[in-house]
Amino acid sequence: MPDAAVFVEAQDLVRHFDVSRPILQRLAVREGKRILRAVDGISFTIPKGTTLSLVGESGCGKSTVARMMVGLYGTTSGHVLFDGRDLKQARAASDQRRRLQMIFQDPYASLNPRWRVADIVAEPIRAFGLAQGRDAVLARVAELLTQVGLSPLDGQKFPHEFSGGQRQRISIARALSSNPEFLVCDEPTSALDVSVQAQILNLMKDLQRRLGLTYLFISHNLAVVRQVSDRIGVMYLGRLVELAPAETLFTIPRHPYTRALMEAIPDLEMTGRTRIPVGGEVPSPITPPPGCAFHPRCPLANDRCRRERPELLAAEATMVACHAVQEGRAG
């Protein structure tokens, strides 16, 4: 019986990509297949009306998770449950499919440059048959544009006539046009200037409050994530290393990687403290290190970390995948 509070659930999601060379070349040089483990066993739940954020550096698999959550990528194994149903079944029915939508990072690439804004926003309304007749569709488009802070007259313009922030507003209007309940937002403000980023984040928060939306928010920016999230998952090399309520994560970060990430952020407060940048780089997801993937960069690594992969286990309000934390070595 699914938990009533759980609206969206990821169960042990795995996604591998085959990045082998073509078979003839491979036979010639006697090379095996090369598998990139973009996402390697991730589980989480999102209660209705809340925001879960996934943070991590490039290549940690956060965008792959985002795409699996709306069905843009299939899963190698594991399931996505949407409102108690398997995503594959849910997507088969159009009245279910309209309930999930996605907002992409680049508002320059995700809008069709040859379509007028009104047509871009109206497409889902027509496709799902949510309004009958031209006037009703146009009225709904005008309402959506107003809702995201644009003028209904902007519907007659083309995307190139808008700035980055306004384009992201159009993307949001398009996503909202099918009356979705669950929005996956993949770095929605990363391409925007900071003053415009504030506009978009405020808008997204307002819409969540007003429409009761559930968000999966993907970002590399911890400060942004703190402003919007109820819960936060920190990803490293295809796995969750820590999953915690937002305030807990920032007040008591537990995983050494989470601590390193927070330590690395340039400090506006200029307290003059010398930061200890985390050494080394993210290893290749094709040949991840054995044991805990973070051990080559971790100050707390010991033999067990190099041998045995830590599971995500509860430590008070937090879930954390770290031997040092479980053994009480983390301090």
Partner: protein, 326 residues
């Protein structure tokens, strides 16, 4: 006060187009002292990269310097011929760009690229250049430099490539480094390493640096002074602590307030409504006045120049003191 390494006076850059001339930079003036890091911040299109490009003589045509002067150690460099400027670039001004992959030549090993730069600009022999190339790779923190010197750029990760680019910019020991978004393409944990490296090298070698970025956090950590640009002009310039903590220009204040804080959650971020005007539609008077919460009648009529605003200089009529009082 010692003589500045770089001095920019009243720089004006224009782009002639079919629909008239666009003014991309106007009345830009600043100086950088030896060993000093000047941060230049602003939003996309504010003209910060354009300023860097004008200094290193790499403005995209049809853009051209239409007025003002750029002086390197007191010598004008804005009116030099291409060949003369080419000798100054690399030798006296080093450049670091955002994307390390497009800066490096994919067909040469990093060692060859470093050696070529040094052989072009310094009176040394090839064997010496090779030895120094390895030294530079060690200095910027590339492990096993003696082996890696014969690797090609694609064999390095993004962070390592940016280290190579830094070595390349510094190896002819220039007096000035122009770094345009040097850490923007990098992950935050790598970013911190690169900033620490740049800062250390600039201090050790006494190199002046102009650091162009949109990331206030990077500026706060690295720069001594900061210039905030808006619509092709400097809105405020001053010591970094004063500009960040107590901005005197309403635009700087708005910009600082809209940065999401890391140490707490706020219900609503401060936002600046609207967007920066396009070059073709810069308003009369102060370019910021249509978005400014403190706008008054004069702002829409007269364009403010930088004026003394106490701790910083700000181009804002709020700080105007009539000559009678001064």
């Amino acid at each position: 006060m010692p003589n500045p390494i770089l001095e920019v006076r009243d720089l004006r850059v224009e782009f002639p187009t079919r629909r008239g001339t666009l003014v991309a930079l106007d009345s830009v003036s600043f100086a950088i002292q030896p060993g000093e890091v000047l941060g230049v911040v602003g939003e996309s299109g504010a003209g910060k990269s354009m300023t860097g490009a004008a200094i290193i003589g790499l403005l995209e045509p049809p853009g051209r310097i239409a007025g003002g002067q750029i002086l390197l150690e007191g010598r004008r460099i804005d009116n030099l011929r291409y060949e003369q400027m080419r000798r100054i670039r690399g030798r006296e001004i080093g450049a670091i760009f955002q994307d390390p992959l497009t800066t490096l030549n994919p067909l040469y090993t990093v060692g060859d690229q470093l050696a070529e730069t040094m052989l072009t600009h310094l009176p040394i022999r090839p064997a010496e250049a090779k030895r120094r190339a390895i030294e530079w790779l060690e200095l910027v923190g590339i492990p096993a430099a003696a082996q890696r010197v014969d690797s090609y750029p694609h064999e390095f990760s993004g962070g390592m490539r940016q280290r190579v680019v830094i070595a390349l910019a510094l190896c002819a020991e220039p007096k000035l480094i122009v770094a345009d978004e040097p850490t923007t393409a990098l992950d935050v944990s790598i970013q911190a390493q690169i900033i620490a490296l740049l800062k250390r090298l600039a201090r050790e070698k006494g190199t002046a640096m102009m650091l162009v970025t949109h990331d206030m956090g990077v500026i706060a950590e690295t720069a001594d002074r900061v210039a905030v640009m808006y619509a092709g002009r400097i809105a405020e310039i001053g010591p970094v602590r004063d500009v960040v903590k107590a901005p005197r220009h309403p635009y700087t204040a708005g910009l600082m307030a809209s940065i999401p804080p890391l140490d707490r959650r706020v219900e609503r971020l401060a936002q600046i409504d609207g967007a920066m005007p396009r070059l073709s539609a810069i308003p009369q008077g102060c370019a910021y006045h249509p978005r400014c919460p403190k706008v008054f009648s004069r702002c829409a009529v007269d364009r403010p120049e930088l004026m003394d605003a106490g701790t910083t200089d700000a181009a804002c009529w709020l700080h105007y003191k009539s000559p009678a009082h001064a």
